[in-house]
Amino acid sequence: MAKLKPRVPVREQPVEERIHNFDSVPYGYNEEEAIAEAQRCIQCPNPTCETACPVNIKIKDMIHFIAQKQFKEAFLLTKEDDAFPACTGRVCPQEDQCEGACILVKTGQPISIGKLEGFAADWARKNGIKEEIKVPSTSKPKKAAVVGSGPAGLACAADLRKYGYEVTMFETLHQAGGVLEYGIPNFRLPKDIVEYELDALEESGVEIKLNHTVGQNIGFDELQEEYDAIFLGTGAGAPRFMGIEGEKLNGVYSANEFLIRANLMKASLFPDWDTPIMVGDKVGVIGAGNVAMDAARTALRLGAKEVSIIYRRKMDFSPARAEEYEHAKEEGIIFQELVNPVKIVGTDRGWVKGVEVVNMKLGDKDSSGRPRPIPVEGTEHIIEIDTVIEALGTMPNRLFLSKAPELKTDRKGIIITDENLMTSIPGVFAGGDAISGGATVILALGEGRRAAKAMHDYIEGK
């Protein structure tokens, strides 16, 4: 067997430059690089990569097309299973999914499936190649409402339109896209990519009603009256706080507030844009998932001199994407592992001046399969920081739920659905973070599509 070539590396913005801007860190493959990487794929008879992709993209054939320079075919093939390959190629935790299951993983050089997928989608965008959408013409089309414009809602709306529905999407913010717009920073997921998808959706005839909060300025009951089927893609956007002493001090943010200010409201462009953000010299981010990485790297780009990730386990157990962790390390983010905040301390003027932490040791595995962190008594000490960003995960959006009491949820507010993604209210379906409590973009996209199909079947009486 010929010796396996190593992965074609992805060119990236140099560290010294990128920590001062919000532009994409990876440049992505060019045609030659993509072809070279695609040629490494050994075209397994039983492609394990595909079974590990949550939406079972036909990865093997996609790669084959790229290797043959048939980029258009590669793109259209991914589109069959993945509504937004340009996004998932960039944000999927590939090492746990497709790439983690690639047969070549044993060699330490699995195929860069995500980068290839992103390449094909970027190529299509740059060359004006779009999936052809044929909306069946019906004399009296059925009406569907989609609540929330995150990946779940977007994927659902796109497919409902293809089934011939008149689709109206409701979004509480003044910008559509959900976490893709307000949460994930531009340096990871450039906003022109998201906006391109939004334009395509509108072109296909989906009406997007911004500034419409279902349950607040438009009633859930009104939707139920007007629409034949409803999809709930309201996400899990409510921030969680640790609930420790000192959290009321100024200088404490939820990661959501910090990222909404920075991304959606463009606080990096303040004062040209109106929304301010205060970033101290020393920022501490509590948590170590994707959200924490995003907040930390955003703080750095907003001018913080020193940014620490404060994590109660070891980074080996962090749920963050491997690429983001690598990038964060390169950019100089400090990782304080095995410490847990017990209280935030402040100045006389009510501003954060530090966080008191206790050292942790790892015990037996807990329900998440990771070792349980246990505090080591008597090891309390203070980490000096002047800004605290809490990235502890989020909870389902309470506003909508409180106005839809008839909808069955679990104790945490996660909407309960059956195997067809239908909620306890007939004709009302749900997907994405609203039914998982927080997962991934690709799962949200997949569920959005699955729900669209189920809604169609339901309406057709199948």
Partner: protein, 277 residues
């Protein structure tokens, strides 16, 4: 979609009146709701109380304070977004003797809206107090709450017009005399709302006040507007903005609105230099 401003008028040296086309907000507004404004595509999302809603338009009282409000006062004739109604309306029902009190721009707007809503309920005797520092600062007659309540008190702190004193002191005198007040709704300066709560607690009068906090999304997703009520974290945008004054953690509620002062000062200065406001 941009929203046309149909009327602007000075209220006093600091505050002005704005009327804007916002059919969705106007149609659904109930006393206690607020709106989120964005002045332009780069604009901040800022919360504003609504004084009244009529014919597809809403009216607001706005203080010339920072960038958005000044720009609006000086140069704008449209808003990029007028969003809402957001927040919870007050419970519009029979209370008996209701006092509605205010001493600052947002409070005055709410005063009007709440009086109008509650005096329409049979069995309520609605008493409005509006306190201004001095006669020159009293708003024009046409926007005062006297036409929408049963009993009206205009007060100035220096006594130059109406009754002399702040509404807190005047109310305390009434309570001291044993007068029965069933509920108080108040809005305006936060420190005064705290003081009002301390005063009415002694008399056991339910006191519901607007706890104004900085907001971003106003749909419960950022936590910027968190307030602590009886030790529990609540979000002013979706749980409020009105809360029981006796239960609010005032120390943090008073401090949080100052979190961005430094930056806002910069923005306002720049905006002035460039003539936008």
């Amino acid at each position: 979609m941009s929203h046309k401003i149909t009327r602007k008028m000075d209220l006093n040296s600091a505050d002005f009146y704005v009327e804007v086309e916002a059919p969705l907000v106007a149609e659904r507004f109930k006393a206690g709701n607020f709106t989120i404004l964005r002045s332009n595509p780069q604009g901040e999302r800022i919360p504003m109380s609504i004084m009244k809603a009529e014919d597809g338009k809403i009216a607001m009282f706005i203080k010339k304070l920072g960038k958005t409000s000044m720009e609006l006062y000086k140069t704008l004739d449209t808003f990029e977004n007028v969003i809402g109604p957001m927040g919870n309306p007050i419970d519009i029902k029979k209370y008996g003797n209701v006092v509605v009190a205010s001493d600052l721009v947002c409070g005055h707007a709410e005063n009007y809206a709440i009086c109008e809503a509650l005096s329409a309920v049979e069995g309520n005797h609605v008493i409005s107090y509006q306190t201004y520092p001095t006669a020159d600062e009293v708003y024009p007659d046409e926007v005062l709450a006297d036409k929408v309540c049963d009993e009206y008190h205009l007060t100035t702190e220096d006594g130059s017009r109406g009754e002399e004193g702040h509404y807190i002191d005047l109310l305390e005198e009434r309570l001291e005399k044993g007068e029965k007040i069933d509920v108080i709704f108040a809005g305006g300066a936060l420190p005064n709302l705290q003081e009002l709560g301390e005063m009415t607690k002694a008399y056991n009068v339910p006191t519901i006040v607007t706890v104004r906090q900085i907001m971003v999304d106003a749909s419960g997703m950022c936590g910027a507007c968190r307030v602590f009520i009886d030790g529990e974290m609540k979000l002013a945008c979706i749980d409020g903005p009105m809360f029981d004054a006796h239960k609010v953690d005032w120390e943090s509620a008073l401090r949080r609105p100052n979190m961005f002062v430094e930056k806002e000062t910069v923005a306002t200065k720049l905006c002035k230099e460039t003539g936008r406001c």
